[in-house]
């Protein structure tokens, strides 16, 4: 008995050791961003490993807003992300509902094609749509970038919404129509509120797709005044010596809302991701 307790104590201790080591590994790069953002201008390139640097200051944060068009980029990014989120929620919630509830021409093919898009290499959508935007003179416009982001986020969102609607029994709509609702009211007042968790995932996914995206934005938005946060961030990084501190401060500001959203919604995110493929 005593020996068994000993091995158990050893196992628990080792488990904590493993968890602490991996937590440090997970935290370290995140702390780095904070450290960089607090470094004073004369110590940007430092060979010290302190987490709170000597003479730490918030000057980088102040400089972002006073010396750089960071506020403008913040507004641009928020605007683009909100429009993409709105488009994503409206289209995915209605299209997903159609796929879940009604039979129509080429429905199976449509569903399959939504899945197949997940296997498209990024450039397979990017290249034709980019050339289309060039031909439509939509390069360097927000309409162009909103189309691009919606196109990349929608297939997954529709699939995800459809999977969630499938778990809601159709008898609910039937009961609602008997009570005098028309079909649209049954969808809008009964089903949509029940699908709130999936809507939240769709919103989060669309928002994140737009908020932190760099490679597409870099091709489409060319004027500094049009830039979104990720392009601005990258421009600080390219200048590692002089603007590394600005990069750190900007990263902290961009990351915090995303991490908070993500941590509070991560449980739902996983169920949304696996719902389509696993019905356990």
């Amino acid at each position: 008995m005593g020996r068994k307790n000993n091995t158990k104590a050893l196992r628990v201790t080792l488990s904590y050791a493993v968890l602490i080591v991996f937590s440090l590994v997970a935290l370290f790069p995140v702390l780095q961003i904070f450290t960089i953002s607090l470094r004073p201008a004369d110590r940007l390139l430092s060979t010290s490993l302190e987490i709170i640097p000597k003479n730490a200051s918030f000057n980088n944060y102040v400089a972002l807003f006073t010396e750089r068009p960071f506020l403008l980029w913040l507004v641009n990014s928020t605007f683009v992300a909100l429009v993409v989120t709105f488009t994503g929620v409206v289209l995915a919630s209605t299209c997903g509902y159609a796929f879940s509830r009604y039979n129509f021409f080429a429905k199976k093919l449509g569903l399959l094609s939504l899945l197949v898009t997940q296997m498209f290499p990024a450039t397979m959508l990017l290249l034709p749509m980019y050339i289309m935007l060039v031909n439509l003179h939509l390069i360097n416009t927000y309409l162009g970038i909103v189309i691009m982001y919606s196109a990349t986020a929608l297939p997954f969102c529709i699939w995800q919404m459809k999977g969630y609607y499938d778990t809601i029994p159709t008898s609910l709509e039937e009961a609602a129509t008997i009570d005098g609702c028309n079909q649209f009211e049954a969808f809008f007042k009964i089903i949509l509120p029940l699908a709130a968790p999936a809507l939240v995932i769709t919103a989060l996914f669309s928002f994140m797709a737009a908020w932190t995206e760099y490679v597409v934005a870099a091709q489409i938005l060319q004027d500094t005044e049009m830039w979104t946060l990720p392009i601005g961030l990258k421009s600080f990084e390219s200048n590692m010596g002089s603007e590394w501190g600005l990069y750190g401060a900007a990263s902290v500001i961009v990351t915090i809302p995303v991490v908070i959203l993500f941590l509070s919604l991560s449980r739902w995110l996983v169920s949304g991701l696996t719902l389509g493929s696993v019905k356990g």
Binding site: Q183, Y214, E237
Partner: protein, 301 residues
């Protein structure tokens, strides 16, 4: 009665039409336009007056002696995908097993910290790790030299080291996804199974092999398929950590190779042809993998 069915049809039509427009716009049209571009000579000089030239671009994909060539990049992409997935699943499932023990306290806190790499935007992950791999000021080399007394490594200036750096970054950011999926699967395993095994005197290893692994497998297989496709297709990390393929275009995966061809060299036809080749590689992989794993699907029933 008649007007009611008519209204019903109109309603269904109104719901379905947006779905079709969206599908056409984001799947069908780009796909076929991409096929057309891949058969054309479109590039920066011929962006409007392009013409169909047949399979020339595909021939170029497989035979053009570029530096690096298609086969090199393809092999690197396979290594990248396999190594990443191996560590994602190994570390993710291992941490899930450790975290799922009933004696562990502070689960929520550990879970939140361990999920961080997934929560931080990929752009920031990539650029921050790029900074950490800097030879003189990056914290990786500082830790190696100051704590362990080892010589610093020229991470980003040599092909092999740069490739390792990109993989380390992606392993760091990818394990939380597998961990969270595995945790969910572990929590759904009924406790009685372990209790019964304890009564039979089964060892820890036996329980792992005969209960845990078979029961989390149906959840892990789709997650691994998805993870493979995401990893194979991940443009952000390789592009940003290696700063567009440095040193001298040695650090490329197929996706970053296409991106460079299309958007830095404006070779649209070639880029489209290569995209289609990549797409078929992924499609073939997914179909075989999903068919082979069908056998494991009915473990629960």
């Amino acid at each position: 009665m008649n007007s009611k069915t008519l209204r019903h049809r109109l309603y269904v039509f109104l719901l379905v039409v947006p779905a079709f427009i969206v599908l056409f716009g984001v799947v069908v049209y780009p796909f076929f336009y991409n096929v057309v571009i891949s058969l054309s000579n479109m590039n920066l000089r011929h962006i409007r007056d392009w013409k169909i030239v047949g399979f020339d671009q595909y021939v170029k994909v497989f035979t053009e002696p570029s530096q690096p060539d298609f086969y090199m990049v393809f092999v690197k992409t396979i290594i990248w995908t396999v190594v990443n997935l191996f560590f994602h699943v190994l570390v993710g499932v291992f941490l899930a097993l450790v975290l799922n023990q009933k004696e562990i306290k502070g689960k929520a806190l550990f879970r939140a910290i361990l999920v961080l790499p997934w929560a931080v935007p990929q752009l920031i992950v990539a650029l921050t790790w790029r900074g950490m791999f800097n030879y003189e000021y990056g914290s990786i080399n500082l830790i190696l030299t100051q704590w362990f007394g080892l010589p610093g490594v020229q991470w980003l200036k040599q092909p092999f080291e740069a490739f390792v750096a990109v993989i380390i970054t992606n392993v760091w950011l990818g394990f939380p996804f597998m961990m969270v999926i595995a945790l969910g699967a572990l929590q759904s395993i009924p406790h009685e199974l372990y209790e019964a095994a304890d009564i039979d005197g089964a060892s820890w290893f036996h329980k792992l092999k005969n209960i845990t692994i078979p029961l989390i497998r149906p959840v892990m297989v789709p997650a691994i398929t998805l993870g493979t496709i995401w990893t194979f297709n991940n443009l952000n990390i390789v592009w940003l950590v290696s700063n567009a393929g440095e040193p001298s275009d040695q650090t490329h995966l197929l996706v970053s190779f296409v991106y460079k061809a299309a958007f830095n060299f404006y070779r649209y036809g070639y880029g489209a042809a290569l995209s289609i080749v990549i797409f078929f590689i992924l499609l073939a992989f997914s179909l075989t993998f999903m068919r082979r794993s069908k056998a494991t699907e009915n473990v629960y029933t």
